[in-house]
């Protein structure tokens, strides 16, 4: 997601490239019920913007109370950062699990500061997907704080500090290498996985794992005869990491006798000619990776060649990438929209905004549609599925894409008695934090400090309190990684109390939080379901508070219970 808001949206819309006021012509139907159709594609899961945050680095300039007032995603609620990845984990378990799961496409911003620790944590989160998953990289995947390491408050030293003890920074080129490895790992699993319904094992991934070599090759394509999800991968690793890119083509055609194949091209919209930097939009000729997306000719030329082959196959092609079109830089946008027009790419799917919307772009007489998907982290944590059909009567392409907001979805699921939905409301009295300093999910917003170390101490205190509460809700049965000088939950809680003293060195809080993180990942509890639900509910409540930067009812809140009357009433 972008770190700064508003500066650039108006400017780009003023160029006439899309947005409000561009009307979809009546040749597009917007029916309330499903048109009678033939199905062309698998149903695929679309997720994005989970923003895995490494919390335990050294203080950095960009994470201070005052700065958070102008860059709203500078600091999230500590509980949202601590437990938020459980939301994506829950979605993957529900929609991409062993039973009735499907293929997932992640549209970028898996990381936040872009630290190696975040990539490791993201890899662990994605292990909940039991079917193939693919990813288009976002601006937070390899760029410091999603913007770049130049500009105010941004430097390699700041990046190093933010990722201290977290494996150090991970650049775009390194993220590509790690993702490449994850594709290979999936291919090796797929080669031995039990296949059902053609989803458990993908011949494309298996072939990729056997044949592709990131050290020597720069392109791979599937040459077998079986139906393969992964068709093509093209990558470029550059010592100037902002010029590196990785793009993929997937074949999501499902029925054996589908009238047309359906292909997805995953673009890399975070590829730049010059190094991007924070807030660089105010400097002509420079880019902020958060404010602007870009693609260079070497990537776009490959996309063109893929589209030419897809046209020969009469394929329906959907393009996907992280940045919405209205923030993609001029020449790249013109090239992309030109390709869409020339090759009839009817839909582009993007992320990045953390909200969710359809965008319509006007190109003379023709129009282009974009589906922008929301964040799985920030309120209302959400995801979509996508299926491509073909209307029987007219042969026109039909898109089906239900959207789910977790807070509503969970309430509905619990209300209907469906299994596996966290019942946060039932546990609110027990699990909602007490109204004491550092315990309110939005308490961190009270700080207007210009002192990054002071802000970090406040965030660390909130995290320590969160861990202490977690231990009371889900006590430890066994652990292979107790924090130093502890061996019981009581000892952990006692040490947390000592660390909250104002004179405790910040580095001791950092070290103990890192130990707690390892401890939490390596302990068993009596009631795993309770721990899972507790963590998920903390993330959901924190996301609500984080949205408003306060505890304010959502506009859809049906019921509000007022405080008990006081004596003077």
């Amino acid at each position: 997601m972008r770190l700064f808001h508003g500066l650039w949206v108006g400017a780009l819309l003023a160029l006439g490239c899309g947005g409000p006021g561009v009307t979809l012509p009546l040749t597009y139907d917007l029916p309330a019920s499903e048109p009678r159709s033939n199905r062309l594609s698998l149903e695929v899961l679309l997720v994005a913007d989970n923003q895995t945050q490494y919390l335990y680095g050294k203080p950095i300039w960009l994470r201070k109370g005052l700065f958070d007032k102008v860059a709203v995603t500078g600091i999230r609620s500590p509980e949202l950062d601590l437990y938020g990845q459980d939301l994506l984990g829950w979605i993957l378990d529900k929609e991409a699990g062993v039973r009735r799961g499907t293929v997932s496409i992640h549209l970028g911003d898996a990381l936040n500061l872009s630290c190696t620790w975040e990539m490791d944590r993201f890899t662990r989160t994605m292990s909940a997907a039991k079917h193939p998953w693919f990813m288009a990289l976002g601006n937070h995947d390899g760029y410091f704080f999603g913007s770049g390491r130049t500009g105010p408050g941004s430097s390699q030293a700041e990046w190093d500090a933010g990722c201290a003890k977290g494996g150090g920074p991970i650049t775009k080129t390194q993220v590509i290498e790690r993702y490449f490895g994850l594709l290979v790992a999936q291919g090796r699993q797929a080669a031995v996985a039990t296949s059902f319904g053609g989803l458990g094992a993908d011949p494309g991934l298996a072939a990729f794992a056997r044949e592709a070599d990131i050290a020597h090759e720069a392109a791979w394509s599937y040459t077998g005869n079986a139906r393969a999800l992964l068709r093509r991968v093209k990558w470029h690793r550059d010592c100037q990491y902002w010029r590196s890119y990785l793009i993929q083509e997937l074949d999501i055609t499902d029925p054996v006798d589908a009238p047309r194949p359906v292909r997805v091209i995953l673009l890399d919209t975070s590829q730049f000619k010059d190094e991007p930097g924070l807030a660089a939009t105010v400097i002509p000729g420079m880019y902020d990776a958060g404010a602007s997306g870009f693609m260079l000719d070497n990537q776009l030329d490959v996309v063109r060649s893929w589209l030419e082959e897809d046209r020969k196959d009469n394929a329906v092609v959907v393009m996907m990438g992280h940045h919405p079109e209205n923030v993609i830089g001029g020449p790249a946008l013109a090239a992309m929209q030109g390709l869409r027009q020339e090759f009839g790419v009817e839909l582009y799917v993007s992320a990045h905004t953390h909200s969710s919307a359809y965008f319509v772009y006007g190109l003379g007489e023709s129009k282009q549609l974009e589906l922008n998907i929301g964040s799985v982290l920030d309120f209302p944590a959400q995801y979509r599925t996508l299926t491509v059909l073909q209307e029987e009567r007219s042969q026109r392409t039909v898109m089906r894409s239900p959207r789910r907001e977790l807070w509503q979805f969970w309430q509905d699921g619990v209300g209907a008695g469906a299994p596996g939905f966290p019942n946060c409301e039932a546990k609110k009295d027990a699990w909602y934090p007490p109204d004491t300093p550092h315990n309110n999910y939005a308490d961190y917003m009270k700080s207007n400090s210009i002192d990054s170390a002071g802000t970090e101490r406040m965030l660390f205190a909130a995290l320590l309190d969160s861990y202490a509460r977690l231990l009371t809700v889900a006590p430890t049965v066994t652990s292979t990684a107790w924090p130093p000088s502890t061996g019981t939950d009581a000892a952990v809680s006692a040490h947390i109390a000592t660390l909250k003293r104002p004179d405790a060195p910040l580095s001791s809080l950092q070290d103990f939080l890192l130990a707690l993180d390892t401890f939490e990942a390596n302990r068993t509890v009596q009631d795993e379901a309770t721990r899972r639900d507790y963590r998920a509910c903390q993330a959901l409540w924190a996301s609500t508070a984080d949205k408003h930067k306060a505890r304010i009812p959502e506009v859809d809140q049906w019921f509000i219970v007022f405080p008990p009357p006081t004596a003077k009433d």
């Binding site: 009678r36 199905r39 009735r100 799961g101 319904g197 989803l199 499902d254 029925p255 299926t387 209907a416």
Partner: protein, 95 residues
Amino acid sequence: MFSYDAPNFTLNFLTSYFAGEPERAVYAKFRVNVDQMVTSGDFIGIMEFNGGRRVWMIAPPGCSGRVAALNGRIDYGLLADPPIQFALRFAATKP
């Protein structure tokens, strides 16, 4: 796949059927129309599952009537979970 709610003239998808399936249902291709007569054993359409498997939808025993409505907004992702979703509604008055 179905349970027939005779008092309400509604043919419902059976959640336990879909919960027992390893793959997710993704599309119901109805082959009946509104105002068409349907009786027990009739072919209603095809349920498609991710991965290409298809299962015929057959009107269950006791189900009979003139189709008043087809569910045009099935939440396939939740067919395995309550609440139950309907497939067809029959006209309340049988011809």
